[in-house]
Amino acid sequence: MANLKAIRVRLSSVKSTRQITSAMKMVAASRLRKAQDRIVQLRPYADKLNEILIGLNQALNETETENIYAARKGGPNRVLLILLTSNKGLCGGFNANVIRETRRLITDKYMEQIRGGNLFFMPIGKKGQDVLRRMKLNILEEHNEIYSNLTFENTKVLSDRIINMYLTKEFDRVEIIYNQFKNAAVQRLTTEVFLPVSDHVPGKTEALHSDYIYEPDQVRIVEELIPKSLRIQFYKALLDSFAAEHGARMTAMHQATDNATELIRDLTLQYNKARQAAITNQLLEVVSGAEALKG
């Protein structure tokens, strides 16, 4: 016979856990909505910028100007990996996925670089940072504070520095590993090449902008727009990861709340059974006691 008191204690502890997880779920849901709105707001800007760039890209291809953002000859020597994780846990496999992918990249792709000490990391988010530190990898800079005020102006400072490091040949390749936001329940793990910029911008190749006036001229506009679109790409990755984090946390907490509810149901049933058994026992004792007195 299960102990009545033990069950009661357990029940109340599970109940308070459920209260916490369900509150966390609500918080995550409201933050998710905000984060999602910002991605939606960024989209028209990003799309338009991309459209202009695609149309202009031919101008660069036709003239033989050197694209300073393009890939350099020979394999990448010095590589920077940027990991976007969260500062807080309790969000399911969100951070673990990023870390697993990073390990895979290290062993499959960048073995040579890591042996030569030419593989560097920039964790954005405490969870990724902790793991990288434990693995004793080369951490270049840490930027956990960026999530507390995620605006374009703030991320621009960082993306400009990364672009600059590429231009000064400190790195030959920069990749971002992050969770892309699909919807509240689905995050897609993505590894994106930030730099070099691929020579071929995907899109229509027909002369979209043949009848335009350009000021100052096509080449210089492209040169100015490429860093702009890189900054947007970086910002978008951060917003995506931020929204994905809250989505993952909401799902995880929803799951936890459901599990707690089920546990409470089981425990309540157990408690009632035990209580009933105790009452039956007591009744039996009383009745048999009375019988004995009658005799």
Binding site: K48, I52, D211, Y212, I213, Y214, E215, I221, I232, Y235
Partner: protein, 81 residues
């Protein structure tokens, strides 16, 4: 003539206008109805809109790019101060 002013963080302005003056890289210029298609990068400076009623709306941008095509203007601003 329609205009949209967009920054990465939000949409600043959208609507019908009479004209707009922007700080182009090669000097400030004004866009009126039926302007030829143009793409221009913009410097830091004022964007002055004259709306349908002739009211003046003014924004200070830190830079950006403008596209004008068939009486549709899209202004991508880096930031609005």
């Amino acid at each position: 003539m329609k205009i949209e002013i967009i920054t990465p963080d939000n949409r600043i302005y959208a609507g019908e206008i009479r004209s707009v003056r922007v700080p182009g890289r090669k000097g400030s210029f004004q866009v009126l109805k039926d302007h030829a298609p143009i793409i221009s990068t913009l410097d830091r400076g004022p964007v002055i809109i004259s709306d349908e009623q002739g009211n003046e709306v003014r924004y200070e941008i830190t830079g950006g790019v403008i596209e004008v095509k068939r009486n549709r203007i899209i202004l991508l601003a880096d930031a609005v101060i």
